[in-house]
Subunit: 474 residues, 2 copies
């Protein structure tokens, strides 16, 4: 999508531009305004193609994709059909998976193949990898031969690996060249990649040795050896490496681009920081949703999709809630004599559950960022137990007083205070140890820790409170 | 930290290199191995400076920072003192805030001022902005005059703004220049920035108009006008913009670098994607911790720090748990007649709480990524209520049967089934509407939604279950 560069981002010149006005008061920076969405939907309602194209023109492909995600399926169908030939590959790349297939079905075959041909080969890979077989083939058929081969080759690497993430176009030169040779080489080459930041130095076996930034090349005399201006901290990435580890390396070591090598250490592609940033964003999103017991939720999923994602977690939760109920049922006799216990028991469980969630979230994040390791795990566990003890003691005093005042029974105050301390210490221990153990067992701690930790705090909370009550009050 | 580029990242040549071995089986990719940490601590124990320096040499500054964060305060003090003159500015920049001040105090003034002088000015800003006044001044005094002025100027921008994030070194040329003129200009300039990817075209008033990548410059004949090879999607960033919005723009529009402008649209600096990536990472981290009711937790905080962060959230939770208890206490009479109610009531509350957390997490993320807007909020709310109704009905059937079988009372089964449906629908509604309303009120929905939503599901759950029971069973 080409546009008049000078105007974008300033948005002072005309009212059409206010979509991109960086400091839009109404809905925060950079979002589509509600006004624009309404105007676009009005153009769709009135079947006014010219007006639609004019309204969409200043929008970035990412914003158009957001727009398509936000409107309902009926409007989406009419919009895509009306927009038709203007629909380009960039919008397709930006679309959320949940509505991608739906939109592909709406496009005429000509528009679809034009759109796909415009895309970079690594975007095509990202785009087709999760499509159904027949759709994937239809799109591959639309590509030119060389692009199709490139995409098919990328698809031979495992899902979510560096091999799928990388672009295959690289700028590599022999490691004994000078700055002048490299510049001349680049100026002669016709097919330089769209985006590249480094010239990669390779040995005669095509093994990457180091790289130099274009900026350094610009700043150095022609006769300088490339080997003398390479960047420190150079590292290569195996094509089979998991994309999450790739994103971690970019973030940890502040990489801008890194060459990808095959099992023989030969250069096969390059990954740039913008790809790594997208992966980092996705991994975070996944962690947040998993911690909340939502598989891969998105607002655009159909109700049936959403049910499929959420129901298993609720079923697991039902199981653990029933376990907690079984603990309570052990003490039915005690409760029927002291109904105050039924009133107070959820407080002990709830405080433990919250404290446990706090500990586990810090632990899950520390594991993800590799800050919780064999070297400090015991110190962290001790520390969390200590925090639990301190918090437990503080809230035990508060609840002890409340128990005394509310029910006029000092023993009840003592029981709830003791149960509170026990449960908060257990919460700190379980909140740290459960994610660590799950990690050792190769289970994603973000996915499963929550259920285990709250089961522990519910069971311990009810058992400690009701058990102590049975001992002390009866 | 300079090192032999050729070896890093391959790690086949010698045993010293295995620290960086990308596919370390023991603790996952790229982490410090436990063996290395043990060897380093042994060198510290034996006061063997030579061995320590040798072991630390292959480590990236980010890894050394991680190491310092993972060991205990006693070892940290000995290690920093022994490492002494080798300690450089890059390690300081990488250190977590929680132990930064501690480490600064350990360094001798000479080592500290050498370290700070090595740092880029934007790293110094990031480093000093949260230090106490006297330490901040000590560090500013160590800088050369020009750097000090640059840092002090950056500190005049608001905290967490684009002005603090940007680097001040830019490469800008008049907008009517040719490729040849730009290349000659860069080759003559002595102080090109360490990292830059674009040449910025400015008008005579220093307003950025467009930018061209270094790659395109390399690929174009000398006489080409820069204006003809500029990148689409150019946008500038106001210096006062919040860094979270900056990161959003980089992620949404796949920016690599973007010029920063003052209130008169004049160029004052540039932000690059690696800075934006760090901010994106921090914002995500913050969201995850806030959703779990942990302020700004880190594993390295002292116990007292951690207590200060977590206690307020537990206190709020205690308040809401007491409200739920008050609801239960309304039905003490009913419970004393049917103790089964006390056994089953946590199940209704727990299922509602979990369903509500699922809805709210999806909503909070959608708000953060600007996917939940005025255009689709009602559709999303309706959808979540529908999901709640469907899930509620499914689990109502299960619990109805369990109630009947466990307690042999069909009416109890009916009561718990009805309460389950009511609470799950409310969970879907509250989980979506509460974050939306908080956002409208300019309260961070990640921070406060959880408490409100679980309060609603607890109160509604207990009230619906016990209230229906009172009506039906008595």
């Amino acid at each position: 999508m080409e546009r008049n560069d000078a105007d974008i981002g300033h948005g002072q010149e005309g009212s059409d531009q206010d979509v991109l006005e960086p400091l839009d008061e109404e809905e925060g920076a950079y979002a589509l305004t509600r006004k624009t969405v309404a105007a676009i939907l009005f153009a769709v309602d009135t079947d006014d193609r010219e007006q639609l194209v004019e309204l969409m023109e200043p929008l970035h492909a990412a914003d158009i994709a957001d727009l398509l995600e936000q409107i309902n399926a009926f409007d989406r169908r009419r919009l895509v059909r009306l927009y038709d030939k203007e629909f380009d590959g960039e919008i397709l790349s930006e679309l959320d998976e949940s509505i991608r297939e739906e939109v592909i079905m709406l496009l005429s075959p000509d528009v679809l193949s034009d759109a796909v041909r415009e895309m970079d080969s690594d975007d095509v890979v990202d785009f087709v990898e999760y499509l159904e077989e027949p759709q994937q083939e239809a799109i591959l058929d639309a590509l030119e031969d060389s692009d199709r081969v490139a995409v098919q080759q990328a698809l031979t690497y495992p899902e979510e690996s560096a091999g799928r993430l990388m672009q295959r176009e690289v700028v590599a030169v022999p490691d004994m060249w000078t700055v002048g040779q490299a510049i001349d080489f680049m100026r002669q080459r016709e097919d330089l990649p769209e985006q590249f930041y480094h010239v990669i130095l390779v040995d005669p076996r095509m093994k990457p040795i180091a790289h130099a930034t274009l900026g350094k090349l610009m700043a150095s005399p022609r006769e300088t050896l490339l080997a003398d201006i390479t960047e420190p901290g150079f590292r290569t990435i195996p094509a089979s490496q998991d994309e999450g580890d790739v994103a971690y390396a970019f973030n940890q070591y502040h990489l801008i681009s890194a060459p990808v090598v095959d099992e023989n250490d030969r250069l096969v592609g390059v990954i740039t920081i913008d790809d790594a940033m997208i992966v980092l964003d996705e991994e975070h999103e996944e962690d947040i949703l998993r911690l909340a017991g939502v598989g891969e939720g998105s607002l655009n999923d159909r109700v049936t999709e959403t049910l499929k994602q959420r129901m298993p977690w609720l079923a697991v939760n039902l199981g653990t809630a029933i376990i907690a109920s079984l603990v309570i049922s052990l003490f039915e006799g005690t409760i029927s004599q002291f109904v105050a216990l039924a009133v107070l028991m959820p407080i002990v469980a709830s405080m433990g559950g919250n404290a446990g969630t706090q500990s586990l979230t810090v632990a899950v994040r520390a594991i993800a960022t590799k800050d919780l390791t064999g070297s400090n795990v015991w110190r962290v566990i001790r520390r969390e137990a200590l925090v639990g003890l301190a918090n437990g003691t503080a809230f035990a005093v508060v609840m002890g007083v409340i128990g005394l005042v509310w029910f006029g029974d000092g023993r009840l105050g003592l029981v709830i205070a003791a149960a509170m301390i026990i449960n908060m210490v257990i919460a700190g221990l379980a909140g740290t140890m459960i994610p660590v153990v799950l990690e050792k067992l190769k289970v994603d701690p973000a996915l499963a820790s929550g259920t285990f930790v709250t089961t522990v705090t519910d069971v311990v909370g009810f058992f400690a409170f009701l058990g102590l009550a049975a001992l002390v009050l009866l």
